[in-house]
């Protein structure tokens, strides 16, 4: 009984760790894409919230909010936010240049999602560090299928 419970707990923690691991390794395509965005710099997971519905019924227009945890002062602010959808035909969706005058490291837009995938946002901060967040999106009507 206790062995079962232990195995269950271990599998639970494995599940909790899975997204972070999946983002960090295991996917050479994603790694190459992220390396392109960070120009080879280290990328850490955290500080970036990707807020989007888990189940989006229309892939042509999926609402998306990216919020970066930053005081947005002259000394410490977000320089750039890049949105990636690796299974789209063109994975770099958009890139936004911000600064201390933005007051808030946040962007709201609508994007096309070609497949069930993780939407990734990478934030470049003023100290040169890169942070990443992601959200898994399931779309029932995929974009980019016509023709």
């Amino acid at each position: 009984m206790s062995a079962d419970r232990r195995r269950f707990l271990v599998s639970c923690s494995a599940l909790a760790l899975a997204p972070a691991l999946a983002l960090a390794q295991q996917n050479p395509q994603r790694e190459a894409l992220l390396r392109e965005v960070t120009r080879g710099a280290a990328l850490r997971i955290g500080r970036v919230l990707v807020d989007t519905p888990t189940l989006a019924d229309n892939g042509h227009s999926v609402p998306l909010r990216i919020a970066v945890d930053s005081p947005m002062t002259a000394a410490d602010h977000v320089r750039r936010i890049t949105i990636l959808a690796e299974r789209n035909p063109r994975p770099v969706v958009a890139s936004y240049a911000l600064g201390p005058y933005s007051g808030r490291g946040e962007i709201v837009t609508r994007i096309r999602v070609a497949d069930i995938q993780d939407i990734i946002a990478v934030a470049e901060l003023s100290d040169g560090s890169f942070w990443m967040g992601s959200a898994h999106v399931i779309v029932t009507e995929l974009a980019c299928l016509e023709g």
Binding site: A94, Y101, S102, I107, T109, R110
Partner: protein, 108 residues
């Protein structure tokens, strides 16, 4: 085809306050993957760059690709500094430009 756009900027803000800006532009944001009625591929044509200048200083820039939805909507934030004008400029792959401006009054 002229590009209709709507920009929402608060008429007034207190100095130091952070206010939202919303912009919506009428544009098909052609991906380049869609065929027309004769099966010919419609070339990619998206609004690739949008900038916002606040009293002449660029304070925001969006570089967009075909992954952005048709009739792009965008919301971002700015900190109120001085009264003046916000100018939005954008251009698509075909070279067509659009522009919109909004005044803002900043109170102490």
């Amino acid at each position: 085809m002229s590009m209709l756009a709507r920009v929402q900027v608060p008429a007034q803000a207190r100095r130091g306050d952070v206010f939202p800006i919303r912009i919506a532009i009428q544009h098909s944001m052609e991906t380049g993957y869609r065929p027309d009625n004769f099966g010919r591929r419609i070339p990619k044509n998206v609004i690739n760059t949008l900038t916002c200048r606040y009293n002449g200083v660029e304070v925001f820039r969006a570089e967009m690709g075909s992954g952005v939805s048709a009739n792009p909507q965008l919301q971002f934030y700015l900190r109120a500094e001085n009264s003046g004008e916000l100018v939005f400029d954008w251009v698509d792959d075909s070279g067509q430009r659009g522009s919109e401006r909004a005044p803002i009054t900043v109170t102490a």
